[in-house]
Symmetry: C2
Subunit: 416 residues, 2 copies
């Protein structure tokens, strides 16, 4: 099967001068990769006639599919539309349906339309008009010599809607695409190379039709399995079979699949068990509570938190013994356990979590260098603690501690 | 003065397949814009010999400066180095100084060097070796027919260090660059178009040598003044004069200049006044405490926080009257003021801040729709509160409330 080659062209001075980061091309790449289209080049050019035409010309030589973003606003800086008309050798004419859509858009929002906006309904006569339901600049679809072109606005949510509603469903109609199925295994608490060691034999024995990718990110590693074939149901079965084989090797690190996050996985566990949590955050300063409360519905299981940034408040609000603080210091197993117990009692929750450490970049000592962090999880009758030795970077230490605490909570819920 | 034209080439399959977002090109664009070099194109190509050579060839036709990132690892996928040698028609040879640097790098980290790593000290004979102090792949500098080329690793912090230490200082030596001076005014609490209205007359009267850019981001607007000329000191003076003119018009929205953030501006104010703060966060769930404690040294002025996610704890931990909660509800002026007072007393701080709202997407009512948020700032003898009407998006509501609370604190400190 011939590989379908795609090229992405982003247009706009603001992208070249660093005023806006081009996140569109990245998103489009990911979506095309998922359906088996190969992106061979991304090009960014400014609002310059010669540069834009040169980009069109060389793209047509290389690619089967050309996706263009940006340069579609109503002002004179925006050149994409007249240049596409020029490139495809046709006139810009009124598309009554497109003018009506722009006009309806303004009516719906109760805003007044300017003559410039009406012009957004004028398009090259040789394109197919693709309605943009969430903005005023329409999509434009061109076909010539078995190469397919789509021009979309640069506004990310408008581009994404046109991709999802029109381009992605269109691709299997015009290209002989392989059937592809993806499944992502989400792991936490193990580094990429250790994970690779654990599953080496399994990985080496994978059938050729299934590809494995390691996608690491802060404290997490995602394993993406991609199957290529001709039958969707057979692929799903083949990947499920492989997951059944690998799962026992890595079970304790797996918190979910596909779009699951550590926070949503914990939400499910807590809701299923009807359990609640509370947090005492010293070195993480509210970060973990923020992660948890970013999930809608977290008030079902999150009772609250205390950020005792000074020893005095660790004692007053959490009941940590002054003797413990004096003898072992704030960054110690003893203190972090008392914090976790204290916050659990204070908020009458099933689990109490705590963090205490030296986030840095200052405040370290020989005995407790920057990056030393203690974390704890307390439940009725049992409290466990763990020491982390992290980095010199304050924000990174906060984030890594966040992942470690959430993972400790996950394991505590499962054990209970 | 001739405009210096630059092109950025990013190399790597992982960029085309959407596994990694190319943040390098954006950063390089910003840095080149600051020194008056015009980026005319960005190109991303995969690990493919033909595509890479084609990108080199067309870049050389268009640009005076070509910056290449990626494709420099020790594995066979990485093609940049052999292809640069081929393109410039020279051999890859051992650079003893570069081999020593790689070897020293491994010794410093106590790690073992593989034969593949030694090869990282082998470079095209026609390049200048540019040491990479924070990684193993060296920079390579080429010159031909008045076009200058720099190849750098794709790892962002390695690329940035090579740019800062070598490329950016080199540019004024090889190109006739304009003298440029930038000054950024940081504002908060006013939207872009309102700000533009306030300073319209001043903006229209700006001399031609000074350009103004509005750079909006979540709750903030940055005003960047850029002066072009031939004398640095004259430009600095001219921009300072303009700032003196505009400052009285926008003074109450300005929290700082250049790299100042709202968090660091507040840190300075609190340290100067020797004042402390504490937070009671309901709808923001720890986010604001996290922003504050992300700043090193925040323990000097941040006493701590309480996240009372349920009414019971607003009463028990912050002393909010049960009658207040029953009569006005948790999201009300009365409750948020009592929360701010309560947390100030609990932590014995000079200022108490509080948030309470409906972050969404569920939990709204006709009277208090999603996005309704109350915030308050309490100090000895005076408490003020403000109602915000935000969006349907949970995370955005949390972030916008964060900016509003920090700005309220800033204003309270200044008033006191």
């Amino acid at each position: 099967m011939k590989v379908v080659r795609a090229e992405i062209i982003a247009i706009g001075d603001e992208l070249l001068y660093g005023q806006i980061m081009d996140t569109n091309s990245h998103w489009i790449s990911q979506e095309l990769d998922l359906v088996g289209v190969k992106v061979v080049r991304k090009t960014t050019v400014g609002d310059d006639q010669k540069d834009i035409l040169a980009a069109f010309e060389s793209a047509e030589k290389r690619a089967d599919l050309i996706l263009i973003t940006g340069g579609l606003g109503p002002t004179k800086d925006d050149l994409t539309k007249p240049l596409l008309a020029k490139y495809f050798d046709c006139e810009v004419i009124e598309f009554p349906e497109a003018v009506k859509a722009v006009s309806d858009y303004f009516v719906r929002r109760g805003r007044e339309m300017t003559p410039l906006n009406i012009l957004q309904g004028h398009l090259p006569s040789c394109c197919s008009y693709i309605p943009n339901e969430v903005g005023t600049a329409p999509g434009m679809w061109f076909e010539r010599n078995n190469t397919y072109w789509m021009s979309m606005p640069g506004v990310p949510h408008e581009m994404k809607k046109l991709m999802k509603d029109f381009v992605l469903p269109k691709l299997p109609e015009i290209f002989p695409l392989p059937v592809i199925h993806h499944k992502v295994i989400k792991t936490v608490g193990i580094g990429e190379s250790w994970l690779a060691d654990l599953i080496e034999e399994w990985e080496n024995a994978l059938p050729k039709s299934i590809r494995l990718a390691y996608l690491p990110s802060l404290g997490h590693v995602k394993l993406r399995l991609t199957g290529f074939g001709s039958s969707k149901s057979e692929l799903e079965q083949a990947i499920d079979d492989q997951i059944k084989l690998v799962f026992p090797l890595i079970e304790k690190y797996v918190y979910g699949f596909d779009s699951e996050t550590l926070e949503t996985a914990i939400a499910k566990l807590l809701k299923a068990e009807k359990k609640t949590i509370a947090l005492a955050e010293s070195c993480t300063g509210g970060y973990i509570s923020h992660l948890i409360t970013s999930i809608s519905g977290s008030s079902d299981y999150f009772q609250g938190g205390i950020i005792p940034y000074h020893n005095q408040f660790k004692a007053e609000l959490l009941g940590v013994e002054t003797a413990t603080l004096e003898q072992f210091g704030a960054v110690s197993e003893e203190t972090v356990k008392e914090m976790a117990n204290g916050v659990r009692k204070q908020f009458k929750s099933d689990f109490g979590l705590a963090s205490s450490g030296i986030a840095g970049p200052t405040g370290g000592s020989d005995e407790k260098p920057v990056g030393t962090v203690w974390i704890a999880c307390s439940m009725e009758g049992h409290t466990e603690a763990k020491k982390l030795q992290l980095t010199q970077d304050r924000l990174l230490n906060i984030q890594l501690t966040g992942v470690a605490v959430l993972n400790m909570l996950r394991i505590c819920i499962l054990k209970k």
